[in-house]
Amino acid sequence: MPEIIRASAVVADDWQILRPAAETPLAEVEIPVGRVVVPLALWLERSAELLSRGDTGVWLSGTDDPAPLVRWLPQLPLVAVDFPKFTDGRGYSVAYLLRSRFGYRGELRAIGDVLPDQLFFMRRVGFDSFAVRSDKDIQQALRSLQPFSDVYQGSWDNPVPAFRRHPRAWPGQHDGN
């Protein structure tokens, strides 16, 4: 069974990511048995069927607007965001919006071109599980999950920027936050 990082640990995971061929009509896409994560368009098309099936999560691409998914968020056991390339940062905004604006509290997973040195930043915007690219050492990725002890900027994990959290040094003082 493939391994992912969840809650700061490497765990086995049996969710399958369904990536149907673009030319297959949504109504004809075959849903495999077991726990499956379907693309947003498929969910929106067949939500009634998929809800009754249970064990279904939804994945979004960088171009997907998460707003139409909002009404189902409380029932979804897993939402994933796909990174087609590590240089494509749209998934960070999608995750941030799901957490902050749309209040999603369930598991939020980064899938696709997910590299170890991005996990820290992904966690900051609200991801809590990571399907690290299969050719990368997941144990090493786990060790690089927390490369910095503190941050300046606010984000989902800690919306309060450093200047509001710490007494900061003034000129002439030792900068010993």
């Binding site: 960088g62 749209r90 941030y96 606010g154 200047f163 000129p171």
Partner: protein, 398 residues
């Protein structure tokens, strides 16, 4: 209004300003840039109180991150999205996003502003009214000193002080170059005549921001010996140039020899001063490191079948006082020229300006008033050639 940071040529430009009631804030511009798609940024918010700087910029970035182009790295810029959506629509999306982020924890506090401000205190100025007399006497006595001071000196808000710009535009030296020995000397002067501060300008010169008026003459004498007192600041030979094909692997053409040829052509100081304020910028390729789009005269190196050619544009402006604070992209006057013709082409442009200028007009003002047609006609001959790109041998008719 002067803009020395070229805020209109950045992805995001923040221009500090005050509201009528004195409140400090920012005018917010987006979508400026040079390169292969030169665009002057658009104001999307006239006044943003300073507390909201971080949250507002974050919203600009989020809109861009979500909707900006991903398919082509040349188009992955805020300016491309602003152009595609229209500035009004881009602004609307930012404001919509900001309505939800405004007053969040990213909002800056008075306390934090005070703390950071405390790192930018004024040095211990000592007003020395006596210095001014000495300075005036030297100005009256030495024409060379007066000429240098007229270009290199900037007024200071503290009486008895001046800001001094050291020219790195001596003919025969690559624009913006300083040797290790020169830097040692500048460092020494910054301590002896100032408070240990040296600034670098985007015009590729060095600035000593706090020089006592009484020390200006001595500084000039030393700077002259060091080759750092060419009295050409803001003039045609104060050329901004990228390293070009002599050093850069991206370049299509050389920049430095073109700059030198032009500097040699305009070696008469009286003529140079008569021409007046003129920004001439040279880039060796479309990446625009020499800011050619914003030059009153802009020169762009292009490659044609393995040969180096130069495209000339006029009427660009970078927001500085020489262009009365305007920001504009220069317009190409026509087919490119060969390297050996560039000094002639610039001479011809200057002659047309001198023939047509009205009292007090800078080169860029005359271009603005007359358009590029008379310059084009003067450079290429009349009637203006209509052929879009030159065949071999079409060169300046100067």
């Amino acid at each position: 209004m002067e803009d020395r940071s070229a805020t209109a040529f950045h992805d995001i430009g923040l221009y500090l300003c005050r509201a009528p009631d004195g409140e400090l804030g920012l005018r917010v511009l987006v979508g400026g840039g040079m390169g292969r798609t030169p665009i002057v940024g658009t104001v999307i918010r006239e006044f943003l109180p300073w507390q909201h700087m971080m949250t507002y910029v974050e919203c600009i970035l989020r809109v861009y991150n979500r909707y900006g182009r991903r398919d082509n790295i040349y188009k992955a810029r805020i300016k491309i999205l602003v152009k595609a959506l229209g500035a009004e629509e881009f602004a609307r999306q930012v404001e919509e996003e900001w309505a939800l982020a405004k007053d969040g924890p990213g909002t800056l506090t008075e306390e934090e502003l005070k703390r950071v401000s405390a790192y930018f205190t004024a040095p211990d100025y000592e007003p020395r009214p006596a210095d001014e007399g000495e300075f005036e006497r030297r100005i009256a006595e030495s024409r060379g000193f007066a000429r240098w001071a007229g270009r290199a000196m900037r007024p200071h808000r503290v009486p008895g002080y001046r800001a001094v710009v050291l020219s790195l535009k001596k003919t025969g030296v690559a624009p913006g170059d300083a040797t290790a020995e020169q830097m040692e000397q500048v460092a020494d002067w910054s301590e002896r005549y100032g408070f240990g501060e040296i600034r670098v300008s985007h015009e590729q010169n060095l600035i000593l921001p706090d020089v006592r008026a009484g020390d200006l003459f001595t500084l000039w004498e030393q700077a002259r010996k060091a080759g750092l007192a060419t009295p050409n600041l803001g003039l045609l030979t104060d050329i901004i140039a990228c390293p070009g094909g002599d050093f850069c692997s991206l370049a299509n053409a050389k920049s430095i020899p073109i700059a030198e040829a032009i500097q040699r052509r305009f070696d008469d100081l009286d003529y140079l001063h008569d021409i007046g304020e003129l920004n001439l910028n040279i880039s060796g390729c479309m990446n625009s490191c020499g800011h050619h789009h914003a030059g009153h005269i802009g020169i762009l190196g292009v490659d044609k079948d393995g040969e180096e050619w130069y495209q000339v544009s006029i009427g660009g402006a970078d927001g500085s006082a020489a262009g009365h604070g305007r920001s504009a992209i220069g317009r190409v006057i026509g087919p490119s020229f060969k390297a050996e013709d560039m000094a002639d082409v610039v001479s011809r442009l200057v002659e047309i300006y001198l023939e047509n200028r009205e009292t007090g007009e800078h080169f860029v003002d005359t271009v603005e008033r007359l358009g590029i047609a008379p310059f084009k006609a003067g450079v290429y001959g009349t009637p203006v050639r209509t052929k879009k790109e030159p065949s071999e041998g079409v060169v300046a008719d100067a």
